[in-house]
């Protein structure tokens, strides 16, 4: 007699895979149902916000029709109303903010991850995160009371020398006006954009820094070994590695800039025409529209504001989704919180 390995056919004959069942204990069942209830409550709550927004907005949209997208004025109680002016203002402010914030956040994140001495790196990270936590009303105060009056001279300078570009034109003031009215340049898209830029810089910068600091050390050393300077190493290793996070962080910042309210309200003075001139006094944004108009609003006007809010929400949602996809593709692991 000898031991043999049973052939596969033998062992498989008539063997049925064992059925695995789990019977949850009472406490586990209770836990699952409580957790599920929590999930459902959050779902219902947030779903309610979204669907109510849709419902109320649809009343206004139904009445306004397609002109909602093309009308510039905002007179929901009589006459037409539309978001053409405010949405252009919103996007322009956000774009100015992004154009200013991208170099700032790129520089900050590169400095923290590549140039800063190791001993102060953690401290700098805390500082940037703290900047993200500064309430927007504080930024608004700062922008309205301090920055505005210093930026005005820059606005004037840009207008004097680059005024021939349509974007930088200012109606009513000629270039090199020896006695310009100072208020011609205040409360402009440009100033609001700069203040919002400082609010979104920490957000974009922390996402970029996280990606930069994860650039593979082997490739860094390789670049140095081949004789690269520090900037050479950054250009061929760190920046390509963090490219996705750079775009994603910028998009997240853009999403935040689109929805920013208080700082914008404190700076701009609202006008309801499409205002493509960045430096000129007066602009508007959807969030500022809501913050300034809700009090005098009739129920229908609230619906109209809801429709504007819905448009804003749609805009930020699209931007955030694109950002999340790009950020999560750029590195495996957790998506950073917005």
């Amino acid at each position: 007699m000898r031991t043999g390995v049973p052939s596969v056919a033998q062992s498989r004959a008539g063997a049925v895979p064992r059925k695995l069942t789990t019977r949850l204990s009472a406490s586990d069942r209770a836990f699952r149902s409580v957790a599920r209830a929590g999930g459902i409550v959050v779902l219902v709550l947030l779903g309610l916000v979204g669907s109510f927004l849709f419902y109320r907005a649809s009343q206004a949209l139904h009445k306004a029709g397609w002109s909602f997208l093309t009308t510039q004025a905002w007179n929901p109680n009589g006459g037409g109303f539309g978001i053409a002016a405010v949405i252009v203002g919103t996007i322009l402010i956000a774009l100015v903010a992004v154009v200013v914030a991208v170099p700032l956040s790129l520089g900050t994140s590169l400095y923290i991850s590549e140039y800063a001495p190791r001993s102060i790196q953690r401290f700098l990270v805390s500082i940037v995160d703290l900047m993200a936590a500064v309430p927007s009303v504080v930024f608004g105060l700062w922008g309205a009371f301090l920055v505005q009056w210093h930026i005005v001279s820059l606005s004037r300078w840009i207008h004097d020398w680059l005024g021939w570009i349509p974007l930088f034109k200012v109606d009513g003031v000629t270039s090199h006006d020896p006695q310009p009215t100072a208020t011609a340049y205040t409360s402009s898209t440009f100033i609001a954009g700069i203040v919002v830029a400082l609010m979104i810089t920490p957000i974009a910068s922390s996402i970029m820094r996280e990606a930069f600091s994860q650039a593979p050390p082997g490739e860094r050393e390789g670049a140095y070994a081949l004789g690269a300077t520090r900037w050479g190493m950054i250009r061929v290793v760190v920046l390509p590695f963090g490219a996705g996070a750079m775009i994603g962080g910028t998009m997240l910042g853009l999403g935040r800039a689109l929805g920013e309210t208080i700082a914008v309200v404190m700076i701009i003075s609202p006008v309801f025409v499409i205002q493509p001139h960045l430096l000129q006094h007066g602009t508007s944004s959807i969030s500022a529209l809501i913050a300034l108009q809700y009090l005098e609003a009739t129920p229908f006007a609230v619906s109209a504001l809801m429709a504007a809010g819905l448009a804003l929400f749609g805009l930020t949602l699209v931007v955030n989704i694109i950002a999340a996809v790009i950020v999560s593709r750029s590195r495996s692991g957790a998506v950073s919180e917005a």
Binding site: R32, A37, G38, V49, E114, I127, W231, A334
Partner: protein
């Protein structure tokens, strides 16, 4: 020496026949150490970091020259004015001159490296200066108001715009902020954490739906959340403008943020830990309660505290729902209630300088609150999930040893004996916790 100087592969050595037999030295080929003209000097380590004298000179020279040139431009040559423009132009000149100076004695990649380094340093500096300016400017403008005790002990109901700073304060706004944020967090924290646990622990179709909705709602602009509460609670259910409405608006704003952040933290709990718990026979609930949540405790605390900081700083939802007032109001369901950001916002809208000072003062108080919360979050959330401080580790080990003693008193005795004799005893780690 010989190894370095004979780069001859081992296989191609000259034939070994020469070595074995004595032979005539002159006629037969043999390996020789080639002589070099002049011995190499001892190698010196190349310095790859640190500051050279040339770098400092180039930097200082460029800075001085840029400042001087701009000063010349500003005062003598061109009709430029303004501090801001002065800084910008001298910075541009500095980069140019610096590049030129470096180019005198370095290659082009080095020049590029120096320019990039100068730009990166300046950009980071600008951001730092901006942050410092935000804080310092707010403190300076609010300083007059902050210096008076009544600022922290009174409300504003009897303060007319022309009253001096010795009258009126923002205590009522601090109280309002605490009440509103307290209610909002009492609603949002349990809900957000529960939903995060649900997202992490109970898979299924519902899970995906909840996650999608939570992710989408983090994009909801805060003003729209405020508008929602305004349109439902106030216009439809005829609630007054009140602290409760503001708290609801804040809760809607932060619940998705807390849920999202907590979910990300929970996902980082190492799978090995939970699986070890399952392998030891504990059920789902016990695993979550005793393993997952304690492991992620610091991260969850950070998520909650940062959510609170966000809720405290939010102005726009409160603006729509709380209503501004100058009176103390401790009752969240009745009458308008002021909060700090709203106080800052409304006070500076008044042109009276004393009101503006009070507005900045409340902004400083707000900033301090956020700073304290942020500091606490930093202290708690220093480590990632599962990493313990040495104190926590000691406590855990002590607990484990107690368990061991309880389960098997002999084992601990033998453990001690074994440790004394230098061998390793069987490890009875406490499975409880």
């Amino acid at each position: 020496m010989s190894v370095v100087d004979h780069p001859v592969p081992a296989g191609s050595r000259p034939a070994a026949t020469d070595v074995g037999q004595p032979s005539d030295e002159a006629s037969l080929p043999r390996t020789m150490v080639p002589s070099r003209p002049g011995a190499r000097p001892p190698m010196q380590r190349r310095q790859i970091s640190g500051v050279r004298r040339e770098d400092v000179l180039a930097f200082a020279g460029a800075a001085a020259s840029a400042l001087a040139t701009t000063a010349l431009l500003w005062t003598q040559l061109a009709p430029f004015t303004g501090v801001f423009g002065y800084i910008v132009v001298s910075w541009l000149l500095f980069v140019l001159i610096y590049a030129l100076l470096v180019a005198f004695d370095s290659s082009r990649p080095t020049v590029r490296d120096r320019i990039a380094s100068a730009i990166v340093h300046s950009l980071a500096f600008v951001v730092l200066v901006a942050l410092v300016l935000v804080v310092v400017y707010t403190v300076i403008k609010g300083w007059d108001a902050l210096g008076h005790v009544n600022f922290y002990t009174q409300d504003m109901h009897s303060t007319t715009p022309r009253d001096p700073l010795t009258k009126g304060g923002v205590l009522y706004a601090m109280v309002g902020t605490l009440i509103e944020v307290g209610i909002a967090m009492a609603v949002a924290v349990p809900l957000g954490l529960l939903a995060a646990v649900f997202l992490n622990e109970v898979p299924g179709r519902l899970n995906r739906l909840v996650r999608t909705v939570v992710d989408a709602m983090t994009a909801l602009p805060d003003i729209v959340a405020g508008l929602f509460i305004y349109a439902t609670l106030i216009l439809i259910f005829h609630l007054q403008l009140s602290g409760l409405a503001a708290a609801c608006a804040l809760a809607v704003t932060v619940v998705s943020i807390i849920c999202r952040a907590a979910y990300v933290v929970l996902r980082l709990v190492p799978g090995g830990l939970t699986e070890a718990s399952y392998a030891l026979g504990s059920g789902h609930w016990r695993t979550v309660w005793h393993v997952t949540l304690p492991t992620a405790r610091s991260g969850l605390a950070t998520a909650v505290i940062l959510g609170a900081a966000r809720a405290i700083g939010e102005t726009s939802p409160v603006l729509l729902t709380a209503g501004a007032t100058f009176y103390f109001n401790f009752n969240p369901v009745n009458g308008p209630m002021m909060s700090l950001p709203l106080a800052a916002y409304t006070l500076v809208a008044n042109p009276e300088p004393n009101y503006i000072a009070r507005g900045f003062g409340s902004a400083v108080v707000l900033l301090l609150l956020v700073l304290v919360l942020f500091g606490i979050a930093r202290m708690i959330g220093g480590q990632g999930a599962g990493q313990l401080t040495s104190r926590q580790l000691r406590r855990l080990m002590a607990a484990s040893r107690r368990d061991m003693a309880r389960y098997n008193p002999q084992a601990i005795a033998s453990h001690n004996v074994a440790q004394a004799s230098g061998t390793r005893a069987t490890d009875y780690g406490g499975a409880g916790g």
